[in-house]
């Protein structure tokens, strides 16, 4: 059990780049500890510098291996990198087996790299509730670039589009005839496609399928946007991005050998430069902060609701209603009055 460190001391150490302080601060935001707000409040002025890159894609496509290869590329040019690797929490036990680190062991001993595994806990959409806050902490600790690996995306794991500056969708050949991204609804959130495992048969076919989807995809993305509820995420972004003139590259990579990683890195740099020129950087930061705001308010309101609607209180009110001493509307108003305290 970590000895309690005074919060101010933890904050000072974190801002000086102390790694244990950073690690403990991340635990605080994950655990929703009472110091979490104080920490985020204190470091927020020191954030806004890092490039946030999301890496998403179907399970087993090679996201972790690709993250590791990208870290190597960034480190070769002196860029410091923080990594957040998210894996799912078991809905049955509340526990989690976080295995992404197995693919990232070669950076151990490099002080310019910090890797943190994160369970989704109560988060939805392929990230943890605290992911965005942990990203801020890595930014505040001075990392130039933060790579966020989402859980293996299945149906609607597109939360990453609300928090990243650049989204890389990882595909792999041989996962079936249909391209996985299309199935998982990832087409709309990609800034860059990486067709990984390009050493395997079928990579060229996957690239061609994706390129075809992108050419005809404008219409598809729009209709998804108009019928979908999540206007603030990917679909909306891809529409405005199209106006800004970013054309989504489809690249082949072989993460295990580093093949194509230089090209991917180059595409990331170009996207970063494009974000600065087009105003996309500010737009995406706005989206990220809006997302954090919503997450925090929702969590607090839900917590109050759970307290306010406690079974005991409800039982009391139900009894009063049964005795016709109070009507349902007044009972509800009573609960709501208590919530706002």
């Amino acid at each position: 059990m970590p000895k309690p460190v005074p919060t101010q001391q933890l904050i000072d150490s974190l801002l000086r780049g102390d790694r244990l302080a950073l690690a403990r601060a991340i635990s605080c935001v994950e655990d929703d500890a009472k110091d979490a707000a104080e920490i985020v409040r204190a470091v927020f002025a020191h954030t806004g510098k890092a490039h946030f890159i999301g890496i998403t894609g179907a399970p087993g496509t090679g996201k972790s291996t690709l993250v590791s290869a990208l870290v190597e590329s960034y480190r070769a040019s002196g860029v410091t990198v923080g990594v957040l690797a998210v894996d799912p929490t078991s809905p049955f036990s509340g526990g989690a087996l976080l295995g992404d680190r197995v693919r990232m062991t070669s950076h151990s001993g490099d002080a310019g790299v910090f890797i943190r595994s994160m369970a989704t806990r109560r988060g939805a959409g392929g990230l943890a509730k605290a992911s965005a806050e942990a990203m801020l902490l890595l930014d505040a600790a001075g990392f130039d670039c933060v790579l966020v690996e989402t859980v293996g995306a299945g149906q609607a794991e597109i939360e990453i589009a609300s928090v990243a500056d650049t989204v890389v969708v990882v595909e792999a050949p041989g996962l079936g005839d249909e391209v996985q991204a299309i199935k998982a609804g990832l087409l709309e959130i990609a800034d860059i496609f990486a067709v990984n495992k390009a050493d395997r048969a079928g990579a060229a076919r996957t690239v061609a399928a994706l390129e075809m989807m992108l050419e005809t995809g404008g219409a598809a993305a729009q209709s998804i946007m108009h019928h979908g509820q999540r206007m603030e995420t990917g679909a909306a972004a891809s529409e405005s991005d199209a106006e800004g003139g970013w054309s989504i590259p489809v690249l082949e990579t072989v993460a295990v050998s580093g093949g194509g990683v230089a090209q991917l890195r180059d595409a990331l740099e170009r996207h970063s430069a494009w974000l600065d020129e087009s105003g996309g950087r500010a737009e995406r930061e706005g989206r990220r902060l809006d997302h954090m705001l919503q997450t925090l308010v929702q969590a607090e309101v839900l917590a109050r609701l759970e307290r306010g609607l406690a079974p005991a209180l409800r039982g009391e009110l139900v009894e009063l209603m049964q005795r016709r001493q109070i009507d349902p509307y007044s009972a509800a108003a009573d609960v709501i009055r208590k919530l706002s305290r």
């Binding site: 970590p2 635990s27 500890a33 078991s90 036990s93 526990g95 989690a96 197995v102 151990s108």
Partner: protein, 133 residues
Amino acid sequence: MKQSQIRVLIAKPGLDGHDRGAKVIARALRDAGFEVIYTGIRQTPQMIAAAALQEDVDVVGLSILSGAHMTLCPKVVELLHAQGQEDVLVLLGGIIPDEDAARLKAAGVHAVFGPGTTSAEIISYIRTAMAGA
């Protein structure tokens, strides 16, 4: 009493490919509600200490069946202490003769679990240790 989620690092130090036990334990701990970070085989003590720090774990579990425990374990403990993680619970499992287990406990390993230990024993040990901390 720790209110927050308990995080456990499971690592295999040294040149030891016997990873069955480590994986069994990792899964059992997940099913008991812990967050388990698995680092895989062939880890140096330095790699294990760095992972323990970045992951801010409460428990470091080492699995060694190669016979190299007398050099590897004290090194991990020493590195954890040097980086400010004196309070991390260090557990060891695998093929460890009794006399070695005694010496390792003197060197800062909290508990040693040999073949045949049930997951329930290990889970209960961690829960008790965390509740007391």
